[in-house]
Symmetry: C2
């Protein structure tokens, strides 16, 4: 048994990702980034993409077990040099207007015995080499979608008490629930409605025009986050530069915007462990002053948290503020996925690092300088971490001085 | 069950390939080309390579089932353009002195319903784009080795009556036998002896200094092949430009040299089907005049044979002459592998297309023009086909006029 799934369900899932996730257009190229263990899904996605009129499909295969051998053995300098051919792969496809699907399915602990310096070196060299490609995606100039499927190592971590086969089957069940697929339903129609709900939520928050959000809960969170003038709440789906509506995450339960770069003060406690770079970081606590992290602790994986925050200057500032109700479906499953795609959609979260330029009015067309002046943070990283709890309170102060309760007891108050 | 093999045997096999196959040198980079189903072997090879001092390992993963979807759907023009990033991958690694391991494990029939034009277009575009890289390997400027392991689709074709799991286990058994690995032996020592035997055979043939070989058998073969002045028989292992002894094929049972480009006359009948480009060609018959194929037939797959011969001008001339005794171990197994790496080492064979410049004295340092004048064929293809039978006779005529029986009843006569 190797992550096998009924063919009709896999086809339904693939069709949803191609039609709603990236909303592939006729003659558009597609790039899929996938672990080799997800080949069945890659093939299903490719067949659906061609059925939707794809020009061609290219795959960037990866194998963490092989990468682990490299990290253990290859010299440090090797990780400081990003392969020119791989940069060309991404730049060339992005330049041709490709859509990008990424299958997120990692063994959460696979790199736990690897020197953090090597992992950071890869993040830095990849971040620099792929800056153009990443900027294109984060400004929606190319459509993209992050999705998932179980792999045995990941499933065993999520369901440690179960046999491998059972763990994989259970994880499939949870993933299909999270992406709203049942054997009987029409997931495309279900997603249209779901996207509509999230977009209405975002529209309400935009109407409020908040100047600040104040987070508090029993974990010790007491954080004030200023939002810049012209910030935009988004959710469910977004329009690409060419006007194509696409859903960049499947599942997605969040509405999100960006904070004012220098306007974050106070302390926040993470409510879930964070899977980062093949390692898990537990009990993160961050203290901010004028936007910047001035203190950080973790009960395990603290060295990885430190590396993350020190990646570059922008990595110590926030780049995203996202609201997810505590009673959202993924949250109610009460499963810790050790996979940010799921855990962030079970919980209010923040992100360290780069902000989405699309979250500020006119941001897609601003220069780097203009974005910075508008309060939009930049970094080669963008790392979400979860802060939602069942007692979380978020109180908003609007630009015209009103106070509005945004979240109470972890759920939306409006 | 997915091609699993006892870990100690896989490690032994990997060590043999790394130490004897490519004979990896300290600080040398390694490239592995592999189907995704061979990941366990890729990991074992990588671990052994690092143990031998590799600088780094890069993998070019492939998935035929995915490629089949592309061939079925992507437009013709897509196959006429070879990806620039993939060319850079090979040129960059070759330029850095990398060794190259290729794992040959194909489903022999996978592309049987694909338009031959698309398969040929890929061969042409890849041949042109990767000409530098291929020239480097065929002149031994980089060390390389072709090896194999079972995949389920391939094993089912070789053992059609067996259940998948049994077929894979049987194919493993045959492959390990062919590469001379047993649980108890020291395959590196065994291979040293085996290489020595093949090199002695080559030395004898070199001493003869043949001007012509005359092939005849009951299948209708009656072929005269002139050998150019200065031709060299090789076998078992070769020296790279840097003086590293390496074995480019595992298994290998052949001694081989190159024919005089314009000096092949008569008819030859293939004795085994040929796996070529995801298709199988049966009962090949070729007639040559002054080196060139002037007539060709096949009972099945004739359109693929035609495409092969018409790839470019050199594809209709011979580029290799190889002798394998009919009672060699792989031949005695009496198994049709549908995989040239094994079938060619069970049988005397010829190749259409490019000749190895190393098979003529000083060839590594000759220009293209000089090689052509010396009678060395050039092409973007090099395709072996099997002609050995149990009644094959090969009679040699030496440059000084003597007649020497080279093979009788399929085996060496000396």
């Amino acid at each position: 048994m190797r992550c096998e799934m009924r063919e009709d369900i896999l086809k339904k899932y693939a069709a949803l990702v191609v039609r709603v996730g990236i909303n592939l257009q006729p003659s558009q190229p597609l790039v899929i980034r996938a672990p080799i263990g997800c080949a069945a899904f890659v093939r299903a996605l490719s067949a659906e993409a061609f059925a939707a009129g794809a020009y061609d499909v290219a795959v960037h295969w990866s194998d963490e077990a092989f990468e682990r051998i490299r990290y253990q053995n290859a010299p440090m300098e090797r990780f400081e040099e990003f392969p020119a051919w791989r940069k060309l792969f991404y730049d060339d496809h992005a330049g041709r207007g490709a859509a990008f699907i990424s299958i997120a399915a990692s063994d959460p602990d696979i790199f736990s015995d690897i020197a953090p310096e090597k992992l950071t070196a890869v993040q830095l060299s990849a971040g620099k080499a792929l800056a153009d490609y990443r900027n294109r995606l984060m400004s929606n100039r190319n459509t993209w979608c992050v999705v998932s499927m179980p792999t045995p190592a990941w499933a065993r971590k999520v369901f440690p008490e179960a046999a491998e086969e059972t763990a994989v089957a259970r994880l499939w069940e949870e993933i299909l629930k999270a992406v709203r697929i049942t054997p009987e339903n029409d997931p495309v129609a279900v997603w249209k409605e779901h996207i509509d709900t999230l977009q209405k939520r975002a529209a309400f928050l935009n109407q409020c025009d908040f100047a600040e959000l104040h987070y508090t809960n029993g974990l010790g969170t007491d954080l004030r986050v200023e939002l810049p003038a012209g910030h935009l709440w988004m959710g469910g789906a977004e329009h690409s530069a060419d006007g194509v509506l696409f859903a960049a995450n499947m599942p997605t339960e969040e509405v999100y915007t960006l904070p004012q770069r220098g306007g974050v003060n106070g302390t926040v406690a993470a409510s879930k462990p964070l899977h980062f770079n093949g390692n898990v970081i537990y009990d993160i606590r961050l203290t901010f002053r004028d936007g910047k992290v001035v203190d950080h602790t973790a009960s395990r994986g603290a060295e990885h948290l430190k590396k993350l925050i020190e990646t570059d200057e922008g990595a110590s500032f926030l780049g995203e503020v996202a609201l997810v109700p505590y009673d959202s479906p993924i949250s109610r499953s009460n499963i810790l996925f050790y996979n940010t795609l799921f855990d962030e959609n079970a919980s209010c979260h923040l992100a360290l690092g780069k902000a989405y330029p699309t979250c500020i009015r006119g941001g897609e067309d601003m220069t780097e300088d203009e974005l910075r002046r508008a309060g939009v943070n930049d970094s080669i990283v963008h790392e979400d971490f979860m802060i939602g709890t069942e007692d979380l309170s978020v109180v908003g102060r609007t630009r015209d001085g009103r106070t509005i309760r945004v979240m109470e007891q972890g759920n939306f108050a409006f």
